[in-house]
Symmetry: C2
Subunit: 156 residues, 2 copies
Amino acid sequence: MSEIELVIERLEMRGHRITSSRRRVLDAVLGQQGHFTVDDILRSTRKVGRATVFRTMKILQDLNIVCRVLLDDGTLHYRLSTGRHHHHLVCTNCGRVEDFSNCDVNSLVRDLQKATSYEIEAHWLEVYGRCQACRLLKTSGLPTTSATARTPSTRG
Amino acid sequence: MSEIELVIERLEMRGHRITSSRRRVLDAVLGQQGHFTVDDILRSTRKVGRATVFRTMKILQDLNIVCRVLLDDGTLHYRLSTGRHHHHLVCTNCGRVEDFSNCDVNSLVRDLQKATSYEIEAHWLEVYGRCQACRLLKTSGLPTTSATARTPSTRG
DNA sequence: CCTTGACCAGAGACTATGTCTCAATTAGGA
DNA sequence: TCCTAATTGAGACATAGTCTCTGGTCAAGG
C-alpha cells in the first residue's frame, strides 16, 4: 500500500471524506522535500482553494502527518512528520532540517515539575546550527536554499 | 538609576537615538505584566505609529530586553526578558509564563553535535503545563486570561 | 426517485502580525 | 545654531491564517 493510501485510510478512519481536493493536497504534501509553506502547496495544487488547503493542513497536523518547524528567522513552516514525538535540528545556513527523537528532556521536565508544581503536559524544542556540508564551505558559500543565516530571532 | 534609564543607556551605547516615541514604547513595555503583543503596546502608547513600535520591539529583542514566547496556540508573544539565556514554562490554562534557566539541554546538545556533525549554535525550548493554581480548580474553573487550553498546535 | 442533512469546496472578506516606502521631522554632534 | 543622518508615521503591501456564505456532493431514509 502506497504512502498516500495509508494517509487516506487514516483520514477515513477519522470520518473525513476523501475528496479530489484533499487528494491533490495530499499528493503535494507527500511530494515535499524538507520544510514547506502552505503557499508551496497552493502553487503545486492548482484549482484548490486557499481555505481548503489550510483546512486540510490542519487535519494533517491533527493526524500527526505533518508538523510545524520554527525556523531561525521566527517563521513557522510545515514538514512531513515522523508521526511520533521528535524535535528538529535546523541548519541556519541551508535550511535543512533533521529530526531527532533521542530527546533527553524528560529528566529536565521531571525536575521542573518538582520545582514549580506545574503539571507538565508538553514541550517544544528546536535546535539550530550549521550542518556538516555548510561547515565545510566555511567562506560564505552558496546556501542550498534561500534560508537566512541569522541567529534565531525567537530565542529567549 | 531606574530601569528605563538603564535601557536607554544601552540603546545609546548601540548608537540608537533616544526619541520621544521610543521612550513611550519603552515605558509601555517595561510596564507590562506577563506576555503581551505589539497591539497591547500600541493601545497603551497613543500617537506612536505601528511601524515604529515594531521597529522598537526589534531593537529591544536585539538587546535582549524582550524575548518572544511561543504560546500553546502557536502564536508568538513578547515578554520582558531576564536578559540571559532562559526558557519558558507556559500555563496552558491561564497563560502565565515562568522563566527557568537551569536548562540542562547542554548535554543533549553535545550528544547531538557528536551524532550529527552539526555545529550547534542555539536552541529554543518551551514547556507547557498547568500551573498549581489552575490545577487546584480542577473543574474547568475560570481561567485568569483568555488563553486557550489546547495542547500546542506547534508540537512536532 | 426525492428529500434531507452532514460534510465539504471555493471565493473572498477579514484578522493578525509584520515589513517597506517615502516625505517630513528631529536628535545630537560640529 | 546648523546640518545631516537617523527616525517617524501613514499607509500600502506581505504573509499566514480564519470565517462566512453559497453551493455542491453524497449517503441514508422515506
